[in-house]
């Protein structure tokens, strides 16, 4: 259990490093891969729904700090994403890279869609244009990475 916690902590640190340092370096048109969602997917497939829900919630809370007006929304979406992917553990054949990449892409897409939908309802943000100009490219990019 302690080894798992250490591994998850290490992954989280890598994800933060990726988001803050590597992401901006490899971004194009302000679109960068979602390293945090990748970590949630990895934890979900390795440890299951329980660990992924908690990791997703914690990652979401950290993301929410930077946007107080939508406080709780990242936590909600990331917890749901972690739980959903965790439930798929043991039901997918992950030998193929395409499957893993596709899973990441779908996870990012679902998370961003849910976030944008609820966010547009709460604070009136635009939904349609960012969905096509940002959400879809970001999910494909994350899946490729």
């Amino acid at each position: 259990m302690i080894r798992n916690i250490k591994a998850i902590t290490f992954l989280l640190l890598l994800a933060v490093l990726g988001s803050t340092v590597i992401g901006p370096l490899i971004s194009f048109n302000n679109i960068s891969p979602d390293f945090l969602m990748m970590v949630i997917v990895i934890v979900a497939l390795a440890e299951g729904a329980f660990a992924a829900t908690i990791v997703g919630f914690l990652i979401g809370i950290v993301l929410d700090i930077s946007q107080p007006e939508l406080m709780g929304l990242h936590a909600l979406c990331c917890s749901l994403a972690g739980y959903s992917i965790g439930k798929l553990r043991g039901r997918l054949i992950l030998d193929s890279v395409l499957v893993a990449g596709g899973l990441v892409a779908i996870a990012v897409l679902s998370y961003e869609m849910l976030y944008s939908l609820i966010g547009s309802g709460v604070v009136g943000n635009e939904f349609i244009r960012p969905f096509f100009t940002r959400t879809i490219p970001a999910s494909i990019y994350s899946g490729l990475i």
């Binding site: 299951g48 709780g72 909600l76």
Partner: protein
């Protein structure tokens, strides 16, 4: 995996999801002010340790750099001190050869500022020295930057009132370190003016003003000045005008010392001249003789 373990795991993950969703929804529906408070608190808890460590690491780098700079400055000061001692020795030899008295060396005695007194006639601070020095009336007091004031009244073996340079009735004999022109520095209307310098003399903005070692008296009936060691930094020329209706220049001076910071100052004891670094004097050392 046995069925009971499966259902336990499903229950625990569902319960966890429920708790996380509940907390997220509670945060989402909070008023904005409360959200900001929560965000600030979480930010402090989550990021403070990393920020503290990062600041500590950068501070170490800064301290190392400052340490290296200070060491270099100390070496430079030591070398300048050796040079100054040699110049003082040579000057004393010359003075002795032409029958003048030998000049001693100056000593700086650190003093603490205890209180301030601001009246219409004077700006005074009370100094306290850890050891009882040889007080003399009108003895100069300097800060790390330059002339701060002069001894006004001795009240105890190790305490005295010092008149600041900003006192209305003060006048200090000064000279321009670059050209040696003599003048009198006085505070006038919140500024410092160097007077008695001819309209046609060479004075530039940026010239450094030092004490001349010459006694100057102002218009008051009593002599309220005395000879200060020559060369103590007083200020820098910031404005020079030559009014057509006056025979002297109008020279405004920015004082070197700060009079608002209450810090350690130094009583100048002994006789002799205050030597500036050779590149600040604006003329060769040979020209002193």
């Amino acid at each position: 995996m046995p069925l009971s373990q499966n259902s336990k795991s499903t229950t625990s993950s569902t319960l966890t999801l429920g708790i996380c969703l509940f907390i997220s929804l509670v945060l989402l529906v909070l008023p904005l002010e409360r959200k900001v408070i929560v965000a600030d608190t979480l930010s402090d808890i989550l990021t403070k340790p990393y920020v503290t460590v990062y600041n500590f690491i950068t501070d170490i780098g800064k301290v190392n750099r400052i340490n290296a700079e200070l060491k270099a400055e100390i070496i430079e000061f030591k070398m300048n001190s050796v040079s100054v001692e040699r110049v003082a020795r040579e000057r004393n030899m010359l003075r002795e050869s032409i029958g003048l008295t030998e000049q001693g060396s100056l000593e700086l005695i650190p003093c603490e500022i205890r209180q301030r007194k601001l009246t219409a006639d004077a700006r005074l601070v009370q100094l306290r020295c850890p050891v009882a020095p040889q007080w003399k009336e009108y003895q100069p007091v300097v800060s790390v930057d330059g002339l701060f004031g002069r001894v006004f009244r001795i009240t105890a073996p190790n305490e005295a009132w010092v008149e600041l340079l900003t006192s209305p009735d003060i006048s200090i004999g000064c000279e321009l370190s670059r050209t040696g022109l003599l003048g009198v520095l006085q505070p006038i209307a919140g500024q410092f003016e160097l007077s008695l310098i001819g309209r046609d003399e060479d004075v530039k903005v940026g010239d450094i003003i030092v004490t001349s070692g010459v006694i100057e008296s102002n218009n008051s009936s009593s002599m309220n000045s005395s000879s200060m060691p020559r060369g103590i930094p007083v200020g820098t020329v910031v404005e020079v005008n030559s009014p057509p209706d006056r025979i002297f220049k109008s020279i405004l001076v920015e004082p070197a010392a700060s009079f608002n910071k209450l810090d350690v100052v130094f009583l100048v004891s002994g006789s002799g001249d205050w030597f500036l670094k050779s590149d600040e004097q604006g003329m060769d050392n040979d020209q002193e003789y």
